[in-house]
């Protein structure tokens, strides 16, 4: 018996919460218990259980039914996305998606890819928030049985005016991404950064990770058939209270006054421990494969031990019995429901046959000495897989949680109100460009266009020795699937906030098209996509409408891009991050961020963006947009009426992509770059001075009237999202022109490479060195 007056954590966890009364009563209860559940959701809990829940159970529901875990607001919309295709091995639904890459020496290799956000934590404590975002996504890939080989980081910040919080966030988040990935030894392969005022109080830190796995070694994130009686083995950091309620936190809006309170919901990163856990897990994979065992393996993410064990067991059609007292802890006297739900980082959960348990414990605890690597870190048996589909968690001899497991893992869907469609932008009024050279210098110095080297240099891009095109050296990063074999993969990310602000549907479609073009620009065939949907509060009909439009745009583009497969491109992994708004109520611009994975059969047939030879022919493969909506030039010149976003003609885009990829693979294209932020002239300038700004081969373009007849100068030189510029050796130009004709690509011969100027006949002429200087400067101070 506990003496009167002292805190009894078990009794506290097992106390029954009465879920009856009016909406106001239930709102008050939810607020006083810090449960992110609506009155209706509380009533569903009571209905499903046929009784009132314990405090521990109520918290379990709050986390498992958060948007982060359950997709309760977005699931109906997400069903619109295409998810199947010839290369899909594991579709959406597990911790990461898996795509077939190809065979090396008769062994089939697959890419594992996952995409997440860590937006709210990164706004509050940017270094830790971004670092733990990386750590989590690496574990999502690891738990599929894969070797983790790359990460990528799409970042969105407020304008980084020196001395402001957005500038601090923009710097510290990059350092957090770097600190984690560098220490673990996973190269940063791709990423992007955009600045937009709507992110000033709510940054976006998305993370993508890629792994490589032999097809026959894929591990499921569920207990396998016959798994009754399996041990549940928790691996990693000792559990503490950090991140308690993290998933629920991600589903709250940010309020500056609450920031300090919310800090307790942010997890603490330990990349050093993750490094050792990864290597120990690789050793476990080898032994599991050699002995032919069937196992389940899952990352601990949202909802901690409870969330992962419930999902691991429920997905296999089983139940679980968890002994919370067996969980290794970092601090004494943690209430059992905190042990069950804390989001302590660097933890994984295995379901293994009892016969293998001693060996699994030895791998982590003795061979890789986890207890010596971090205080009380270890592998420990914490429960059993049961046939009865109940989720039972015990502490101090008391079942603090005893539920039908599906009640927990199947959240009720929310009914949300769709607002009206966003207003259509006014039509384009041709923009006068008084001085194209001056405009180009301003465009190149725009924060969304300028040199990223000062940022990218924080990231290790060469570790593992498999990198063929490092981050920042081309539109996509490329790495070998296996050192010594020519099969390679390409990765790129995209999602343009200037577009998003204008048209959420078309902007999302452009994100897909741009990510795919990026991968094509290095000579890869796109094979699959991931998405992270970063939107505002779905209870706001306008924000919900933006989400719906965004998903529609993604689906339309993925289905339309049939260049690799007649069924289009599948989404194999993704994440929804809602409630991205500040206390003042302003949502971030509707930000669909997309990653594209590509396949390259022969790594020697890849190209970067830089022109290496004078005397080559430059072509535009693509077309000129009918407007300047969302274009950097429109912002630079403060255009009164830039018009709508460029429209998308998928048949044309497929033809252009096929031409570029075939041209690169045939060895007749020596450099390629997609025409995106800043438009065609910025694209050619970047090809001349190259990714580090040190290139010295110029270009001379014919008068625009010759290659863009009838197109106004602003659209011809600065119009965006029109396709690719490629450099082709003169002797191969007729071959390339016939290739383009065969594919019915839109081809425009622009001019030739050479000299030290970027010259456009009858328009302007600037020294490459001057252009490079303007382009290199803007981010130097922020990331120096």
């Amino acid at each position: 018996m506990t003496p009167a007056g002292t805190f009894d954590p078990v009794a506290h966890a097992a106390q029954v919460l009465a879920l009856s009364g009016s909406d106001d009563d239930l709102k008050r209860l939810a607020a006083s218990e810090a449960l992110a559940l609506t009155p209706d959701e509380l009533r569903v809990i009571r209905e499903r259980l046929g009784r009132d829940p314990t405090r521990a159970e109520a918290h379990a529901f709050a986390i498992q039914w958060s948007e982060h875990c359950s997709y309760k607001s977005s699931r109906a919309l997400l069903a619109r996305l295409p998810t199947q295709g010839p290369d899909v091995v594991v579709p959406v639904g597990e911790d990461a998606g898996i795509l077939r890459l190809g065979a090396i020496d008769g062994v089939e290799y697959c890419a594992v890819i996952a995409h997440e956000s860590h937006n709210h934590p990164s706004q509050v404590v940017p270094f830790e928030g971004a670092a733990t975002g990386v750590g989590g996504i690496l574990r999502d890939v690891l738990c599929m049985g894969a070797k983790v080989v790359a990460c990528a980081d799409p970042l969105r910040f407020g304008p980084p005016k020196p001395g402001t919080h957005p500038a601090y966030v923009a710097r510290a988040a990059v350092e957090g991404v770097a600190a984690y990935g560098n220490a673990v030894g996973v190269p940063n392969l791709a990423g992007d950064v955009y600045f937009h005022p709507s992110y000033a109080e709510n940054c976006l830190v998305n993370v993508v990770a890629v792994g490589i796995v032999e097809r026959e070694r894929i591990l499921p994130s569920r207990v396998p058939p016959g798994g009754e009686g399996y041990d549940l083995v928790l691996v990693g950091k000792a559990t503490d209270a950090s991140g308690f309620g993290g998933a629920a936190f991600a589903s709250l809006t940010l309020d500056a006054a609450q920031a300090n309170v919310n800090k307790s919901a942010v997890q603490v990163p330990d990349p050093f421990l993750e490094n050792v856990i990864m290597r120990a897990s690789y050793a476990a994979f080898d032994e599991i494969h050699a002995s032919g065992l069937q196992v389940g393996f899952k990352d601990l993410g949202a909802g901690g031990i409870l969330g992962s064990s419930a999902e691991l067991c429920a997905a296999g059609g089983f139940g679980a019995q968890i002994d919370l007292d067996a969980v290794p802890r970092a601090v004494p006297n943690l209430p059992p429901f905190v042990v069950a739900l804390a989001e302590t980082q660097e933890r994984m959960l295995w379901a293994v046959p009892t016969s293998f348990t001693p060996r699994l414990l030895a791998i982590y605890n003795e061979v890789f000495t986890l207890p010596e690597v971090a205080a009380n870190a270890r592998a420990a048996v914490i429960g059993k897989v049961t046939r009865e589909r109940r989720y039972i968690a015990r502490s101090g001899g008391c079942a603090v949680c005893d539920l039908p497991i599906e009640a927990l893992t199947q959240a009720p869907r929310r009914r949300l109100t769709l607002g009206p469609p966003p207003p259509a932008p006014l039509p384009y009024v041709p923009l006068h460009v008084p001085d194209a050279g001056d405009a180009l210098l301003h465009v190149l110095a725009h924060p969304d266009v300028c040199c990223r080297r000062p940022l990218v240099e924080h990231y290790d891009t060469f570790v593992r020795g498999a990198t063929a095109l490092p981050a920042g050296y081309a539109d996509a990063g490329v790495l070998l699937v296996k050192r010594g074999a020519r099969l390679a993969l390409a990765l790129a990310v995209d999602g343009n906030p200037r577009y998003a602000a204008l048209d959420p549907r078309l902007a999302a479609a452009h994100a897909v098209v741009e990510a795919v073009r990026n991968v094509a620009a290095v000579g890869a065939w796109p094979i699959g996509l991931t998405d992270c949907l970063n939107y505002g509060n779905p209870e706001n009909p306008i924000a919900y409408r933006a989400l719906a439009e965004g998903v529609e745009g993604l689906a339309e583009a993925a289905r339309g891009l049939t260049v690799s497969s007649p069924t289009g491109l599948p989404f194999v992994s993704g994440n929804v991050s809602l409630y991205n708004q500040s206390a003042s109520g302003a949502s971030v611009v509707p930000s669909a961020i997309v990653a594209c994975l590509g396949r390259i059969d022969d790594v020697s047939r890849t190209v970067g963006m830089q022109v290496h030879t004078a005397g080559e022919v430059l072509y535009l493969v693509g077309s000129f947009p009918a407007s300047l909506g969302g274009a950097v030039l429109a912002e630079v010149l403060a255009a009164a009426q830039p018009g709508p976003l460029p429209s998308l003609d998928y048949a044309q885009i497929n033809a252009d992509i096929a031409t570029v990829v075939h041209g690169i693979q045939a060895g007749i294209v020596s450099a390629a770059h997609d025409v995106s932020d800043g438009g065609l002239l910025a694209c050619v300038a970047e090809m001349c001075f190259g990714p580090d700004g040190k290139g010295a081969i110029g270009a001379r373009l014919a008068a625009p009237a010759q290659w863009a007849p009838g197109v106004d100068l602003a659209r011809a030189l600065f119009g965006e999202s029109g396709g690719f510029v490629v450099s082709v050796p003169a002797h191969a130009s007729s071959d390339f022109e016939s290739l383009a004709a065969r594919h019915t690509a839109a081809l425009h011969r622009l001019g030739t490479t050479g000299g030290e100027w970027l010259a456009i006949d009858q328009v302007c002429r600037l020294r490459i060195a001057e252009l490079a200087a303007a382009w290199r400067k803007p981010l130097e101070d922020l990331y120096a």
């Binding site: 220490a183 010596e372 924080h458 020795g465």
Partner: protein, 245 residues
């Protein structure tokens, strides 16, 4: 003659063991990773040691400081006294400095950046190749691309020490065009007095194959699996072991 047996040491936090082992093997050496939990006495059975990159023991205290005081470093130091070869790369170089095997020099935080920097660099073999056994098989003045990836790679110490390093010809590799991390004398690689221990800050193993460098030198696409000039570091280590066998 059997291949040189090379131990690539793995400490908790090491992250470059795989590609380092591969680079050694591509030079014909019999290399394998040796985990920190393995019996350290077995280390004596190897002909040479490579301390690879990473963040051993989380770089607590200082980069390389804890690993430098490990039993395995003691064994390696003893074996080096008997003339065996030791190559430390990045974090491995930091361990060698912390263990005092290079004399009174340190690897300090990069200046002026003050943070981790990753970039492709070029280093030059500026010492007579035979000054260090590990470069004896390389041509004088060889320029080698390598991957710099560190936050604490600035070779530093007092003036007399560096004057002495210069006199003794122990600054084996220097950054071409100046050190991006503020290293004294532009040092990228320094050997011990006996010339059988080499501490190299930039990574040769990460750009050891032509496909790693073809993005900067497209002509390397012609033979993507060929070995780069950076791989000469491993070939020269193999040659050094052969020379004493």
């Amino acid at each position: 003659m059997s291949a040189a047996r090379v131990a690539v040491l793995v400490f908790p936090g090491t992250n470059s063991e795989e590609e380092t082992v591969d680079a050694c093997r591509a030079a014909g050496m019999d290399a394998r990773p040796v985990l920190w939990s393995e019996p350290q006495g077995d280390l004596r059975n190897f002909d040479a040691y490579v301390l690879p990159g990473g963040f051993a023991h989380e770089d607590r205290v200082r980069a390389g400081a804890i690993a430098a005081r490990s039993q395995s470093l003691r064994v390696i130091a003893q074996e080096a006294q008997r003339g065996k070869f030791v190559l430390g790369i990045c974090n491995g170089a930091q361990m060698l400095a912390e263990a005092g095997l290079l004399g009174p020099i340190a690897l300090a935080r990069n200046l002026p950046a003050g943070h981790f920097q990753c970039r492709l660099v070029e280093v030059e073999l500026t010492a007579p190749p035979t000054r260090c056994a590990l470069t004896a098989a390389m041509p004088a003045g060889l320029r080698v691309p390598m991957a710099m990836a560190h936050g604490e790679g600035r070779f530093t110490g007092d003036r007399q020490t560096f004057d002495q390093l210069e006199r003794q010809g122990r600054i084996i590799f220097r950054y071409v065009g100046g050190a991006p991390n503020g290293s004294l004398c532009d040092a990228a690689g320094v050997c011990n007095e006996e010339g059988n221990i080499l501490a190299l800050m930039p990574h040769p193993e990460r750009v050891a194959w032509n496909y790693n460098l073809a993005f900067a030198r497209p002509e390397l696409h012609a033979n993507p699996m060929g070995l780069t000039a950076a791989h000469a570091v491993f070939a020269a280590l193999a040659a050094a072991v052969r020379a004493v066998a």
